[in-house]
């Protein structure tokens, strides 16, 4: 193979690699952005949903305490 042919082969393989790299990079970035979005949404939902904590379970027959 002459010198020009091997340079063409190198350029072709490099182009394929650059295309694969950009494709992978973009998928990576998109997936991370989507995950961040989902996490933000989950945190927002957790913060806006009313919540209560159970401290004590009333015994049967025990009068209900009213405030």
């Amino acid at each position: 193979m002459d010198n020009a042919a091997i340079l063409v082969a190198t350029a072709a393989v490099l182009s394929v690699w650059i295309a694969i790299f950009i494709y992978l990079w973009r998928i990576d970035a998109a997936a991370r952005a989507l995950r961040r979005e989902l996490e933000r949404e989950r945190e927002h939902n957790d913060a806006s949903t009313p919540s209560a904590t159970v401290n004590r379970v009333r015994e049967a027959g025990e009068p209900v305490e009213r405030r």
Partner: protein, 319 residues
């Protein structure tokens, strides 16, 4: 901080692999007997190596899934199996190209080719299995069990089967001195096998300092026969004439001559053997191994992340 390091590592993989490509074509020298095609070993072996790593990771995370029942373990196991299958296909295709150059045929059901084909079928069946089960938990559980069984076959198909078979043409001698590198010892009139070529020693003749063997060579299926005359220099003990086997670039060498018994050791000089003795080829080969391994881990991270996000979106849809 970790985010920036990860980004820098990804850019590093891009630059490193670009360097490997440039080195493969412009720095690695041509290999005698294979010409430009010898460069394919820089891609062929690392892709095979990465598929071994990928299937191992798939099996580890399948086991972890069965133990902890976390969906993330299943996602990593699937992502690793997918990448493993992809790299095995790449190794098979590059091997076929090498085979065409060295043996004159893309596919000849050599033990190495047959075993990798079986491995491809086994892992392709994993995805068929996953696609066939609708229940998510059951799909994960069964595919994890299947992945563990598939992994048990992998070392045998990758490493053992091609090496215990006497009739492989795969140049194992480039990396490991196995039993297939020893050749055959024959007396006049005797028949033996080197790779998948039948050889018969018809006669020996002394010509000055040389001992010349007359060898009848038959290709598999006896499709081609030829008489070859390899010779050995008795003064320095080195091989002299090394004729090529019919239809391939493999050479027949006369390695030893025992004057007392009249026996000779005949061997196949495979293109690709001692390919890595050249320093530039060796360093590029090692760099390619490192680059492909890092690329695999990046692909694994991206694919498992995509699967995690898909799962989270599906869960949100249900809720």
């Amino acid at each position: 901080m970790m985010q920036r390091l990860a980004q820098a590592a990804k850019i590093g993989i891009g630059v490193w692999m670009a360097g490997v490509i440039i080195a493969t074509f412009l720095i690695v020298p041509q290999y005698e007997g294979l010409g430009e095609a010898g460069r394919i070993v820089i891609v062929h072996v690392p892709t095979a190596w990465v598929s071994v790593v990928a299937f191992t990771i798939s099996a580890i995370f399948s086991g972890l899934y069965l133990w902890r029942r976390r969906e993330r373990d299943d996602h990593i196991a699937v992502a690793a199996a997918e990448a493993g299958l992809l790299f095995t296909i790449l190794a098979t295709v590059t091997g076929m190209i090498f085979s065409q150059v060295a043996w004159g045929i893309f596919w000849n059901w050599d033990p190495r080719q047959t075993s990798i084909f079986v491995l491809l079928l086994i892992y392709a069946a994993l995805f068929a299995l996953r696609a066939a089960i609708d229940d998510v938990d059951r799909r994960r559980q069964l595919s994890a069990v299947y992945s563990l069984f598939a992994f048990v076959t992998m070392p045998f198909l990758f490493f053992v089967a091609p090496r215990i078979a006497d009739s492989t043409l795969h140049p194992n001698c480039a990396f490991i001195q196995g039993s297939n590198c020893d050749g055959v010892v024959l007396e006049v009139g005797k028949v033996g096998l080197i790779g998948d070529q039948k050889v018969q020693l018809l006669g020996l003749e002394r010509q000055g300092n040389l001992i010349v063997a007359e060898v009848k060579v038959s290709t598999p299926g006896l499709q081609q026969e030829a008489i070859l005359y390899p010779s050995l220099d008795l003064v320095d003990g080195g091989m002299a004439a090394r004729p090529e086997f019919p239809g391939s670039r493999f050479q027949l060498g006369l390695e030893e001559y025992d004057e007392a018994t009249g026996a000779v050791r005949l061997n196949m000089e495979a293109p690709g053997t001692q390919l890595l003795e050249n320093r530039r080829t060796l360093y590029t080969f090692l760099a390619a191994n490192l680059g492909f391994t890092a690329l695999f881990f990046w692909m694994l991270q991206v694919r498992s992340l995509v699967l995690n996000v898909q799962w989270a979106v599906a869960q949100r849809g249900r809720a």
